[in-house]
Amino acid sequence: MNVLLYMLKRIIYNIPVVLLLTIFVFAMIRFLPGDPADILLSGEGGAEDPVVRATLMKELGLDKPIPVQYGIWLWRAVHGNFGKSVYSQEEVFTLIMDRFPATLMLALSSMIVAIMVALPAGIISAVKRQKPADYAAMIFALLGISIPEFWFGIMLILTFSLWVPVLPSMGYMSPFQDFFGSLKFLILPAIAMGLRMAGVVTRMTRSSMLDELGQDYVRTARSKGLSERAVIFIHTLKNAMIPTVTIVGLQFGTILGGSVVIEMVFSWPGVGQLIINSILTRDYLVVQAAILLLAVFFLLVNLVVDFVYTLLNPRVELT
């Protein structure tokens, strides 16, 4: 009951945050110098047609006061109506949703890559503290948070597409079309995007494992004669995972942001690529909607992480 109430509170807490998000994103277009109608029609492919302009003015209520404009915009946004792209004439919402699965697939794969590397590295590092394995893991983690991911991506292309041509340097294939074929395209961008998260999670896992290994219950478990393996995997790991889960959730935002750059490097047809191309073609309705949807998605992920966190950790204060 308590847990449910807590979750409800968390959801309610996020409602004003989402509203503020929409205000920011709405304000973005109004902050651009010039008349909003001109700005929205200024992209490549935008017509100088007065009829088009009049339709847009009427649709967005551009002749009304700004709060009313915001209301109209929000009401349409809630219904998934973000208008039409000036560049491709397609519905903005469909345009984004068509590309979202590719971004999500890339983000999740890079998270999996990162966790698969980071958990063992962090655990070994804590258990073999101040041994060569620890130093190796820590240096790996430091490089992970220091190397720019897009440069790492370019280096991967150089190594695995040009020098040893085993993987394609760019492009995308839907996994429903050919699962193993699509993996080939996925591997390099997923590794490039996961690098940074791997570094962060390795450091977090190490420090929380070290925290837990110093606790009394671990000493008790050891003195009971439990094997070191049992102490680590049965007793310590579960508690050490709590901060790690939090950081994974927070890092998800960074991964979504990173997708903007990585998708450009690997010509990956996701939302990130769409945002950059739309900025370059001044297709602002698309930029506005895509940024809003990514941010809302990030909030949702954090909400889920919050719930997992409370389930994992019964000690957490439900206030």
Partner: protein, 303 residues
């Protein structure tokens, strides 16, 4: 009577003013540990080297970093051009050297913007708590919901791409982050006795907050600032790589990578060198930040 005794003590009347001497002493004590910490030492050496390169750029450069020479384009590294020349025949060594200044300037000024705006916001939020805190932190949460690069992209879209707008865009990203850090420290600091004492002698809230509490929260702030300089440099390079940050012909490591992309197969050194420059600089700030954390913030120190 007890009350009178307390008010007599100058310690209590003034509150324990933030003591720079003690701060420096503590810093010196721990500096010994810093020297023992090899990684941190490497970090500080890297940071100082990059700073020196940036300051002495006109002396270290071999050629004008903007001088084009099509006849000499795409030379592989040689004695005349340490790092070769790019597609316009510009000397890559000189561009890398000058790029260090751009990276450091953007990193430091962006973080400076974050500190200047974020710290007071967080301090007020943590000190007054209640409604003020609620409202401020929700706004900060909303800003934090944008992944850093996206936030910077929004600002650059509004303001247009240029050196100063890149700094502003990245600085905006760090405002809520510094607000959070400061709020956290102020929340715990405001419960201490000296704050109560300050209030008893009728010091104003703002004076207590900015003259007594804030100086005591400096340590975590300095650590965060160092680490965020590393992130800011990464963000600048990403923005410039996308063509939305520093504009050509200014030498930025990110835009050099962007230009090198096309020549990756024939001239890989053009892409390798700027990436190494970014990585080493960011690594330096990360190592330095870790070392500072060990010195200034023993609670968070790695065991």
């Amino acid at each position: 009577m007890a009350n009178k005794d307390i008010s007599m003590s100058p310690e209590v009347i003034d509150g324990p003013k933030f003591d720079w001497g003690r701060f420096a002493e503590r810093f010196q004590d721990r500096f010994y540990d810093f020297r023992k910490n090899r990684l941190a030492l490497i970090g500080i050496i890297i940071v100082i080297s990059v700073l020196l390169v940036a300051c002495l750029a006109p002396l270290i450069q071999m050629h004008d970093p903007l001088q084009q020479n099509i006849a000499n384009r795409l030379q592989t590294p040689n004695w005349e051009h340490f790092f070769g020349t790019d597609h316009l025949g510009r000397d890559v060594w000189s561009r890398i050297v000058h790029g260090s200044g751009v990276a450091l300037m953007v990193g430091m000024i962006a973080v400076g913007i974050g500190v200047i705006f974020g710290t007071p916001i967080g301090a007020i939020s943590g000190y007054y708590r209640g409604k003020v805190d609620e409202v401020i932190m929700r706004i900060m949460d909303a800003v934090l919901a944008f992944p850093p690069i996206l936030m910077a992209l929004v600002v650059v879209t509004i303001l247009g791409s240029s050196l100063s707008n890149t700094m502003i865009a990245i600085g905006v990203v760090y405002i809520p982050r510094f607000a959070r850090v400061t709020r956290g420290s102020v929340l715990s600091e405001r419960e201490k006795e000296y704050v109560e004492a300050g209030r008893m002698v009728g010091e104003s809230n703002l004076s207590i907050l900015f003259r007594q509490i804030l100086p005591n929260t400096l340590s975590p702030l300095i650590v965060q600032a160092t680490v965020f300089i590393a992130y800011a440099i990464l963000t600048e390079s990403a923005l410039s790589f996308l063509g939305l940050g520093i504009q050509p012909p200014n030498p930025s490591w990110g835009s050099m990578l962007n230009e090198a992309k096309v020549f990756i197969e024939s001239d890989p050194y053009l892409a390798i060198i700027p990436g190494l420059a970014i990585s080493i600089t960011v690594l330096g700030f990360n190592l330095f930040g870790d070392g500072l954390r060990d010195i200034l913030d023993p609670r968070l120190a790695k065991r």
